[in-house]
Subunit: 440 residues, 2 copies
Amino acid sequence: MAEPLRIALAGLGTVGAGVIRLLETNSELIARRARRPIVVTAISARDRYKPRGVDLSGYAWEDDMVILAERPDVDVVVELVGGSDGPALACARTTFEAGKALVTANKAMIAHHGLELATRAEAAGVSLKFEAAVAGGIPVIKGLREGAAANAFERVYGILNGTCNYILSTMEDTGRDFASVLADAQRLGYAESDPSFDVDGIDAAHKLSILAAIAFGSRIDFGAVEVTGISQLRAADIAQADSLGYVIRLIGMAEPDFSEGACKLFQRVQPHLVPFDHPLAHVDGATNAVVAEGNFSGRLLFQGAGAGDGPTASAVVADLIDIARGEVASPFSVPVSDLETLPAATSGHRRGRAYIRFTVADRPGVLAELTAAMRDAGVSIESLIQKGAPEDGGPDGIGEVLVAMVTHEGPESGVTHAIELLSQSPSLTAPPLVMHILGK
Amino acid sequence: MAEPLRIALAGLGTVGAGVIRLLETNSELIARRARRPIVVTAISARDRYKPRGVDLSGYAWEDDMVILAERPDVDVVVELVGGSDGPALACARTTFEAGKALVTANKAMIAHHGLELATRAEAAGVSLKFEAAVAGGIPVIKGLREGAAANAFERVYGILNGTCNYILSTMEDTGRDFASVLADAQRLGYAESDPSFDVDGIDAAHKLSILAAIAFGSRIDFGAVEVTGISQLRAADIAQADSLGYVIRLIGMAEPDFSEGACKLFQRVQPHLVPFDHPLAHVDGATNAVVAEGNFSGRLLFQGAGAGDGPTASAVVADLIDIARGEVASPFSVPVSDLETLPAATSGHRRGRAYIRFTVADRPGVLAELTAAMRDAGVSIESLIQKGAPEDGGPDGIGEVLVAMVTHEGPESGVTHAIELLSQSPSLTAPPLVMHILGK
């Protein structure tokens, strides 16, 4: 058997400990499949003596991750520190300067610096791999880069954040409100103490921008992702959606837009209404799922655990096995110099149906005002539910009422226009919530 | 850009024509992703002049597929002839003798001769790839070989035959019986005029034996797959299952059995009851889906079109892109010489719940006879539904009655024993139908 592939681990949180456990537990089958053993030689983390449930005594220790990456007894650096900049980025840059391969689970770093790092990796003739950065244990990067590589993609979308999906499906199951479910999720460790990264959709946007670059051969453009999180959602929205035949899921979606000739790229993270008979409607808890629609493959669905030490370690080690097998390929499927710069598309070209929820003061004429705005914006209403929401109270003693509408299919720009028409209305007690309805 | 990868196509049915259309339609993006163009240089098929909707005039023609494989202007042979032996096998052997790579969609050939062909490919230092042989356009071979390569698999199972799934989901939607839905499926082209290969489970068993070899590092053992098809199913079974919270799906399943110490391999294709809340319960029509349960990844689901020219061509060309990128790897993840010979496990070790449907003569004492046999075999009954089935009539003028039972969890061997106890009973008007219930 060939020489072992020697790994340095930078970062020893739950995922890092998971990687060590996985490499130990499955060492024999990994060596068989990789045609050589994969062994950890050196490690680095912030706190050397924190209890982690794994024995670190057999590994060399470095306090400094940059020095770790330079060690002569290391072939591949596994970066699990997190954070888009700082030590993670320094460690990654040094890895390529030292002519070594990098495996990372760091979506923020890839979303912000992935092109720079891929350029460095390509120049050094080494691998940069980040399967674990998107959708945890699901091999979806490989699925798009290789498994579906024959296709032009018409759309890529999915459930990319396990925390949000856990919160949404728990709201659905229990009828409880966002804040109370979030508090539970934090207590149970499903959500961070500062949950904004997840619930505001940023984490999903990082992942979406990476998927989009691979699917559409375009330069990562994280800044172009339109992002809406889930914190505005109320129990009443979940209930209304249910009564109409939908569940609510936070969907990240990317698709090319040829409506003005040259290709633009549309990227959006937003809660969507998902019809009961769509495969994503059955994705519950912290599960992730990605749908890729290829022009020959048709719809492909990849589903699995979106986070957790085991699944994430599974993705990290799959990348290591690819490297051990000798694979050196462009991180983004094509060389960075061949990636296109696609301008950001606005949602203007899109057509579809939407759910709009208004919270309004309970007084005469409000419904007429809302429906007039819809009419003036050319939006046709398919169904409308008005429901008092006494539990929420109103801002000034006046009762608050929820009005939920579902529109007929039409341009999204119409809905945007209607919301603008109502933006100055004193009848609205909160900004309207718009969620698009996922087509079948 | 590097030299083109030159392809010979053996077989020009719908999939072959699909491969040509795909290579033409997506030629530019394929060349970018593969780092070189992929071009068809020569073709061969039974009938040169059959209309196929694609222009063949640009390709050299060979009447003989063996000579096709030997052509000096060919780097890779794509075998789409079908059939486990005959011209397909001769063409495949010649391909490796000529030191060329082979891509095939031929599950029967791989199930029967995959180890021989992989040995030849490994000796020649070339690729043998067969993503299209299992689950059409879904990159599940890659998913197991590479994406989930870090895992020991606890179980691999799925819906592997689109024809059966179309029939079962149509029976479910329409309440119609097997024979009538099959006839429609044949008329619509979803089923062959001789449907036995599909409805008897052979096709699913071919695919399962291939998946099992990759997942468990074992030599393909198609002969060891226990196979039951779907032709015994009645509309009443679908209705009973529905009333109990299940759909019926033809499931292929492979799992290691350590119950007697050394590892054995259990492989079975059988209609199963699938709980409504299991992801496979929502796989309808001709869709395929594979679940792989890894010891670190947890449950991974791969879903998509299981057949059709576009999806199958997508898988074939993904294999070609891998080859164009320079990948040469063991076809079964590890070299054939390292594959283990795992003895076949019987179902004896398995525990679970089962659905048993008896068709019995409508006369006194029959129910007592059935339940006594269950008791004597140690099988505990969770629920029992007895229902007259006048539409079926009885064999000799006596009314026929359906008795459906669901057992509590217990050893499968108990159910087998109970069926044996009843095997000589004159009360049974047909052999009992046993379907196991898929765990969550």
